[in-house]
């Protein structure tokens, strides 16, 4: 029909427009990330500068009292503690651009080495835990969507609400108490048993509890938000339409309810990443897991500003990247969404 031709070619132009929008979004966010990262790092150094704690005390520990004034002076110069916080920041930025993130006093090795050594362990536990939470929340929401308001739906809703009220460290300590201490089925901390070789089997056994704690602390939010969006979609004209044209309940839930619920779910997931990171800090500390998140705690306690600044900037970049990824996925999953560029 000739009358339809302009409409359909307009549609193709719309698609091209969307692809251009995607590129614009990526470019804009990357440009905007630069001042944000600079600002965050500046803030870290400012806080370090006005902090009442003396890094030298943290560095020397008990020996601080024994050290003479000259010794302290020498050490402070060697550790570059005498410069103002602003010039320290400028120095840090300058060397960071060349790939040198400074030296971690608490781990006594370059910051880059600390990061590359600990990053895989954090990714392993946080990634596996989050994956487990996403998969099980999707499975649960699908089961619940078959009968909104049914027994399973209400049980999952109540369970998730209770679980949401528990902070990650309570969940971690609970798991530790039940499975490691009382039952003794699983090891309660570290990467491997004392004296044992660091093997895949050892790590697999040791990561069970931290992964479970991560999954359990992220699960309730995901389940509750997914349940709310599936309930809304169940009542929509489109789902009623799918039933009216004779599709089976299985197809209605999997092909109509779930795809429509996925886009808002991805948005929640992207906005949840800061929570995942905070959760990882607590969980890695409870389980003595040698990841980056645990290093945040050690570096803060020891006033190890080089490492702390690197970790803060890394967290900032991760959060920005996750929210960009969530927005891009939302656009790809829902063809109606147009980029606000």
């Amino acid at each position: 029909m000739p009358a339809q031709a302009p409409l359909l070619s307009g549609r193709q132009a719309g698609r091209r427009h969307r692809r251009a929008d995607l590129r614009t979004i990526i470019f804009r966010r990357c440009v905007l990330a630069v001042p944000v990262v600079l600002g965050v790092s500046l803030l870290v150094f400012l806080l370090a500068g006005i902090s009442p704690f003396n890094p030298l005390t943290a560095y020397l520990g008990d020996r601080y009292v024994q050290a003479s004034v000259e010794q302290r002076q020498q050490l402070a110069e060697a550790l570059n503690l005498e410069t103002s916080w602003f010039s320290a920041w400028l120095q840090w930025i300058g060397s960071a651009l060349t790939g040198d993130l400074g030296y971690s006093r608490v781990f006594r090795q370059p910051v880059t080495a600390v990061l590359s050594e600990r990053m895989p362990w954090t990714l392993l536990v946080a990634g596996t835990g989050l994956f487990l939470a996403v998969v099980s929340s999707l499975l649960m929401a699908v089961r619940c969507a078959y009968r909104p308001g049914g027994f399973l739906d209400r049980a999952v809703g109540a369970g998730a609400t209770v679980l949401q009220g528990l902070p990650p460290f309570v969940i971690s300590l609970g798991l530790l108490g039940v499975f490691a201490v009382a039952a003794g089925w699983l090891p309660g901390g570290g990467l491997a048993d004392p004296g044992a070789e660091l093997s895949a089997g050892q790590v697999a056994r040791h990561m069970v509890l931290p992964v479970l704690a991560t999954a359990l602390s992220q699960l309730p939010w995901l389940v509750l938000s997914l349940r709310t969006s599936t309930a809304g979609i169940q009542a929509s004209d489109a789902v009623r339409g799918a039933r009216l044209r004779g599709l089976s309940e299985r197809t209605v839930v999997r092909k109509h309810v779930l795809p429509a619920a996925l886009a808002p779910f991805i948005a929640v997931l992207g906005s949840r990443l800061p929570e995942v990171i905070v959760g990882a800090v607590l969980i890695e500390t409870v389980f003595s897991w040698p990841g980056l998140a645990a290093a945040v705690v050690s570096s803060a306690q020891a006033l190890d500003f080089a490492l702390l600044a690197a970790l803060t900037v890394l967290t900032t970049i991760t959060v920005l990247a996750a929210s960009l990824l969530a927005d891009l996925l939302y656009m790809l999953l829902d063809p109606r969404v147009t980029a606000d560029v």
């Binding site: 359909l8 489109a238 044209r245 795809p259 063809p335």
Partner: protein
Amino acid sequence: MSAAIRAEGHTVRIPVDIRGEAGWVHAATSVDFTACRGRVHAVVGESGCGKTTLATAILGMLPAGTRAGGHLEYVDPNGRATALTGEGRAAAARTAGLRGRQIGYVPQSAATYLTPVRRVGAQLRETLRELRGQATAEELLDRVHLDPAALEAFPHELSGGMLQRAALAFALAGDPDVLVADEPISGLDPHLAQLTLGLLRSIADSGTAVVLITHDLQALALSGTADELSVMYAGRIIETGPAVRILTAPAERYTADLLAALPANGLHPMPGLPPELTNLPPDYTYADRLRAAAELEADHVR
């Protein structure tokens, strides 16, 4: 001419809760209705007269808690009848088995009928697969005069008229014996409305029983699509018969007023307001509305 949908004394009461007060919507009262294969049976009436509830009942999708009395059944070509109303899982399974396969549906709001995040083609092929339809997606679109390029589009990328025809293609996927079209031409311009009515006519001519629910008497009178016409008022069918006869020489005052309200006949407004179907008095008729309207007018004059 064999009956495909048969209603005798079909009565529907739907529970409602208006600001904490429970009530019953008298959506259908003693409805007698027959739709035959090869014919278009139009149901007309003002908004809120119970037309859509009749469509919903034929598809077995009345809301939970609804009480239905009398008979409403689908009669297959061999004369075997299946009840379309009833409560419980058995009734739900019975009507779910008929939907799409024996009884097709064309929705009122085609714009929200399809899942927005999936392409039209993917959803049409899924429907064909599930209903074991013999046609291909392209053939179905051709039947409703739609460009096959629409298969690649997302629902929001099509115009209202295109979506309405796409919805018709979905209704035809299972090659149904009965087609229920609920206000298929509301919101379409006159040209597209005539096109849709023409399609429904040709579907009926190929042997399907078409139930056409509309409030657009104008388009109906212009196109001559309908064979039979039933006029519904306050949940009752007050007049039924050959469409030509009713459109030219109505027996009921209500039908005559409906026709007089058409632009072509001088745009005389309907007197009074249509009744609320919640807790309707059992003997309510159009005469009650005329009387109330006359009283209101008398008050106004004084």
